[in-house]
Amino acid sequence: MLTCSLTLFIPTLTLELGTNSMFKFITQAIKRSLRRSKLARFSTGYLILLLVIIIFGPYLAPSDPLALDLEHTVQPPSMEYPFGTDGMGRCILSRIIYGARLTSLAGFVAILVGMTVGIPLGLISGYCRGKIDTVIMMGMETLMGFPYLLLVIVLITMLGPSLPNAMVAIGIWIMPYYTRLARASALSIKEQEFIEAARMSGESNFSIILRYIFPNSISPIIVWSTIYYARAILMAAGLGFLGLGAQPPIPEWGAMTAIGREYIFVAPHVLFFPSIIILLTALSFNIWGDLLRDILDPRLRGME
């Protein structure tokens, strides 16, 4: 329900205010929330730190994430290994730092796959209506009819368990949400007068979609992408934990917790550090998602 009102609201807002003022409106609202809420400041700080780690990872990591040190296996945190070592004597801190890159990449690729397939389908569906719309949306609803995680598992079975395949599978899982989003935008934009004007000046349907509908539907897509990104990251970690995503020596956070599970009673730090990082990352993204939703959902705003 929230989704529905939000997807309809942003395009109308964009049309009323224009894309530039729409972003100005959002940035101002974000600044206000940052001043008011401690949680928002915390999550922003954490996400900036994470970005720094992703960019400068290789310079920050104290050692090689794959280097084995068989004389120092399952060591508790020390000067040499700040987060301790795992069962193969690998430095957990370095693995988490490199893992940040992998995890963010996984989320990014998944979102990109979802967008490139989902958005054109949604725009076509909303603009053309009729039979094409029915067929596309029926396909999307079938995909959404799978319970959480199950669709991704079917796709992984098809492709085989590995990190790149997991990224593609997560992308396909997210795709229908983009289709729905783009369709809702297209539906409201196509009723505008400038579309009629374009049609009268003889532009083809293809060029109308590409030149008018698509640019006007971008803002809700960007906003929702922050939320989908968080979901994609969590899903990638979950698959890594199940052994259906990144495979063991790869320092992906989910796969690291799977290793940690074996040492849970012997050396809990092997499990603790990757778990806490996953939790903090997901928490920060969710706080941001909440923030954006509060700003953009007109009904919740009206109640303040």
Binding site: E141, F146, P147, Y148, T157, P161, F241, I264, I278, R299
Partner: protein, 306 residues
């Protein structure tokens, strides 16, 4: 009423048919021949041909598709490619455990979610609401496996109250059920809260208050009844989340249910096993949402007379 139910049943059946077809196509157009992958690169063409013949993979696709439906109607999910055992038997052995886990967790999650959601909505922006909101935010950010492993460390190691894995006694159900229910309760509380807030803003609530009804009557009789349809829909959808979460929970606690069977099936690329498990999960999800549909056409006369 009858027409409404019939149209819902037909839609559920269509969804199921589409799902089965999708899984069938996905499994058959998988890149890389599954039989070759399983037998290894060293297997000769004779051996591959024999294996394909054994599982009926050399027949035309249309034949295989019809065959799949015929077998499904008889609840026959074929033979496992990996172990050669009967898949249906394993499915029925595992589903007991998944049902036990999922239903316990759903009951706990519903109780917590609805209660906390209502109280949180009525005491909007008070201490209880603020606390609940922070807890649920952490709750939805905690991946199931992190939550499960955390609980396992505390309750199976620090204080040794419950077994850490397996399904030997009723005690071993406690940790998996709590893990799964807390995860779902988090998002359920948030959704119930926003559904209740929506209703509490309606004019008829102000009307009821103006008539002098007690606050308790307004919240629990008027508002809750009106939020009921939304809450029920949300419950149905959350059940899908719970099924997916149960896969991860089962792996964390080595609970011998469908989820664990499925994950092992995926790892060994044992298509019939995965197919069977996914169909059970998806079928369960569809049936539960169909039930939800029935229930709300019963509680909401507007839907019944449409």
């Amino acid at each position: 009423m009858f027409k409404h139910i019939l149209s819902r049943v037909i839609r559920a059946v269509i969804t199921l048919v589409l799902l089965v077809s999708f899984i069938f196509i996905a499994m058959h157009y998988a890149p890389g021949d599954p039989v070759t992958t399983m037998l290894g690169a060293g297997a000769g063409p004779e051996k591959i041909k024999a294996m394909k013949h054994k599982y009926g993979l050399d027949k035309p696709l249309a034949y295989q598709y019809v065959d799949l439906w015929q077998r499904m109607i008889r609840a026959d999910f074929g033979i496992s490619w990996k172990t050669g055992t009967n898949v249906s038997q394993r499915l029925f052995r595992s589903i007991k455990y998944t049902l036990m886990l999922a239903s316990t967790a759903m009951v706990i999650a519903t109780a917590i979610g609805i209660l906390a959601g209502i109280v949180s909505a009525t005491k909007r922006d008070k201490l209880f609401d603020a606390t609940t909101r922070s807890i649920t935010l952490v709750g939805i950010s905690l991946p199931t496996f992190v939550l499960g492993l955390g609980l396992m460390y505390i309750f199976a190691y620090v204080v040794d109250w419950f077994p850490s894995s397996g399904a030997t006694s009723l005690k071993s159900l406690v940790l998996p059920a709590i893990t799964l229910s807390l995860w779902v309760a988090g998002s359920l509380t948030r959704l119930v809260r926003s559904a209740m807030l929506d209703v509490l803003n309606e004019d008829y609530i102000t009307g009821a208050r103006a008539k002098g009804f007690s606050e308790r009557f307004v919240v629990y009789k008027v508002a809750l009844k009106n939020a009921g349809v939304t809450i029920l829909t949300v419950l149905g959808l959350q059940f899908g989340l719970l099924l997916g979460g149960s896969v991860i929970t089962e792996v964390v606690f080595s609970w011998p249910g469908l989820g664990q069977l499925m994950v092992e099936g995926v790892k060994s690329r044992d298509t019939p096993v995965v197919q069977g498990c996914v169909l059970f999960f998806a079928g369960g999800f569809i049936v539960v949402n169909l039930l939800v549909d029935f229930i709300y056409s019963y509680i909401d006369p507007r839907i019944r007379y449409q």
